[in-house]
């Protein structure tokens, strides 16, 4: 049976990424790259929100940590984009490890507010306080600094897509692995009933801290990839107006679902591209979409589609076997 569910989720994985590859064929490259990076970004938020139940409006803060760490390296010290991304990951890991113990103790509402405050503070830090190093609102431009690397040349968008594709795949498989592990079960249990988790002898603090670090290191990775891909970082990346982006996409896709981030990213990036050209007023659209989704039942696109798809698959294969394993 274990082998069965193994086969099943690999099928789903392959199918989803075949879809992404299809996106690459039919849509322009910048769009595809945006989707890849955004879905990595959202996966971190999805893990926090869907698995551990912590909602954070401060994800741009960690995105900026990764982006600026990579940018500092690429602008001032070196020119290897791979090293830049690794430095971004390390910075995200260290920062979330440093502030995690303070943040995860907080009650849910305080956690959300404090994270948003953090992202605004990092915005000011990068825009004004450290303007000597970050060049303030002008940002750091280092696209020409990027050296071409042997196997996959990250300074070329088409090869960057393949790299991003592989990274997203690995991250996704990693989160899927976490879901099936004891740690994943502990996370879900902490979300549902913290007291009972404590009663079973687990430290809910440690569980939350680990999840927090994992999620935000992922976010920092996305930030570093943004930096390398665009060859440019400015404080805009953590502006308060964009604070809700990952949360919106997570909810748009469906909170806590495996494919949610991917579906959400595709829809969101597509909407942004099309609707902002039509209306020219992005806030209006995204605000109303968000309120509408919240009022319509917060299941999101994938969350609503999933039962239908499962029913279809069951009908096609004619099986009435258990449905666990494939979706959640």
């Amino acid at each position: 049976m274990a082998a069965m569910s193994f086969v099943r989720w690999w099928w789903g994985l392959l199918l989803a990424f075949a879809l992404v590859a299809l996106v690459r064929v039919f849509l322009p490259l910048p769009f595809a790259n945006e989707i890849i990076i955004f879905s990595i970004y959202t996966m971190g938020c999805n893990y926090l929100l869907g698995r551990i139940g912590l909602i954070s409006f401060g994800q741009p803060a960690y995105l900026a940590v990764g982006a600026y760490a990579a940018a500092f390296y690429l602008f001032y010290f070196g020119n290897n984009p791979y090293v830049g991304i690794l430095i971004g990951i390390a910075a995200g890991f260290l920062v979330s490890l440093a502030i995690g113990p303070l943040f995860v103790r907080l009650r849910g509402d305080y956690f959300a507010l404090v994270n948003l405050a953090l992202s605004v503070i990092i915005f000011y830090l990068m825009q004004k306080v450290l303007a000597g190093i970050t060049h303030g609102d002008n940002g750091l431009w280092f696209l020409t600094n990027l050296a071409s690397t042997p196997v996959l040349d990250l300074s070329r968008p088409d090869q960057f897509f393949i790299f991003g594709f592989l990274v997203a795949f690995v991250i996704w498989a990693f989160f899927k692995y976490l879901d099936d592990s004891i740690f994943g079960a502990c996370c879900l249990a902490t979300k549902l009933n913290e007291d009972k988790v404590k009663f079973l002898g687990y430290s809910s603090f440690n569980i939350r801290l680990t999840a927090f670090v994992i999620a935000n290191t992922t976010t920092a990775l996305a930030g570093a990839m943004y930096a390398v891909y665009l060859g440019f970082v400015s404080p805009e990346i953590t502006s308060p107006a964009r604070a809700a982006d990952p949360v919106v996409v997570t909810i748009l896709g469906g909170v806590g679902t495996l494919y949610g981030p991917l579906v959400g990213s595709i829809v969101y990036t597509g909407m942004k591209d099309v609707l902002s050209k039509v209306f020219g007023n992005w806030e209006l659209v995204i605000g109303f979409v968000l309120v509408f989704i919240m009022l319509a039942g917060e299941k999101g696109i994938w969350g609503s589609l999933q039962p239908l798809l499962e029913k279809m698959v069951l009908r096609v294969t004619g099986k009435t076997a258990e449905r666990g394993g494939s979706g959640q």
Partner: protein, 290 residues
């Protein structure tokens, strides 16, 4: 060292800033206390108040009328949002209401951009007179703001302690179900509280408009400060909100005299410090009923 004159004007500046913060956060705090929602859209009513003040004062030439109109329109838009959106989500989790209200805020910013455009608009100062305090030239308008905030605090206090509706709201903060059991329509209480909160945010925006430029993102600009005030004071506590808004006002004002970037960083450091000692803020309660 800072000269005496600079310090005096800094303190007055901090007081007026704290008053604005107080007017803005008291709505958030009331909503949290009674309805257990985090209503980020108060920042929208703040912007609405400021924009209506701008338009009305440009039309009629009287800023006080503008502030009044701003409060009324802000309250009215709060009523509309409450009816359409919040009524449906009162019994949901806190983070849920927070996401929804953030959606309302962002959407509202879009609406403001649609009506008034992206350009920052100036609003003339209603009182240009200056008064001499301790040998320092202080604009009277800033003192008027402090006085208005004090009046609002007294008014809110009287309302909550001396009127039946206010008493019901305070009782609802303790235990909504019991209030409902007494035959009081709590949803009407919710509406009243929400409209009051929105109107107060509108007043804050209208009063602050002459001191800054009115622009679509002004709500998002003060977002961080409002959060820090609410977190330091403790969600749901009016006394905590009062104390922490003046604390943050002073820290921002005096901090910027010492070293400009301190204005933004210092309140954040204080917030982290307080959360380290007491994770629910100065006056927040540990327990969350409901």
């Amino acid at each position: 060292m800072i000269s005496m004159q600079l310090l005096t004007s800094g303190v007055i500046f901090g007081l007026s800033l704290g008053s604005i913060f107080f007017l803005m956060t008291i709505g958030l705090s009331l909503c949290f206390g009674l309805m257990r929602i985090i209503s980020l859209d108060q920042l929208l009513y703040y912007s609405v108040g400021a924009y209506i003040t701008f338009s009305v004062s440009a039309l009629l030439g009287n800023i006080w009328l503008g502030v009044l109109a701003g409060a009324i329109v802000a309250g009215a838009s709060a009523l509309v949002v409450e009816r359409i959106v919040f009524r449906r989500i009162y019994d949901r989790d806190l983070p849920f209401t927070m996401i929804t209200s953030f959606g309302v805020l962002i959407g509202g910013v879009g609406v403001i951009k649609y009506f008034w455009g992206l350009v920052p608009r100036p609003v003339g100062e209603p009182i240009v007179a200056r008064v001499d305090i301790l040998g320092t030239d202080i604009p009277v308008y800033r003192l008027v703001i402090v006085a208005i905030a004090a009046l609002v605090y007294i008014g809110i206090w009287l309302f909550l302690n001396r009127t039946i509706i206010g008493k019901a709201i305070r009782a609802g903060t303790e235990d909504v179900e019991h209030v409902e059991g007494l035959g009081i329509n709590v949803y009407r209480l919710f509406t009243i509280t929400f409209v009051i909160a929105g109107a107060l945010s509108g007043v804050a925006g209208g009063l602050y408009a002459p001191l800054i430029m009115v622009d679509p993102n002004m709500g998002l600009d003060v977002l961080a400060f409002v959060f820090m005030v609410v977190i330091i004071g403790g969600l749901g506590s009016i006394k905590g909100t009062l104390i922490s808004s003046f604390l943050v006002g002073q820290v921002v004002s005096i901090g910027s005299l010492v070293y400009a970037p301190l204005a933004q960083m210092a309140p954040f450091a204080i917030m982290l410090l307080i959360l380290l000692i007491k994770p629910t803020g100065l006056f927040g309660s540990q327990m969350l009923k409901r």
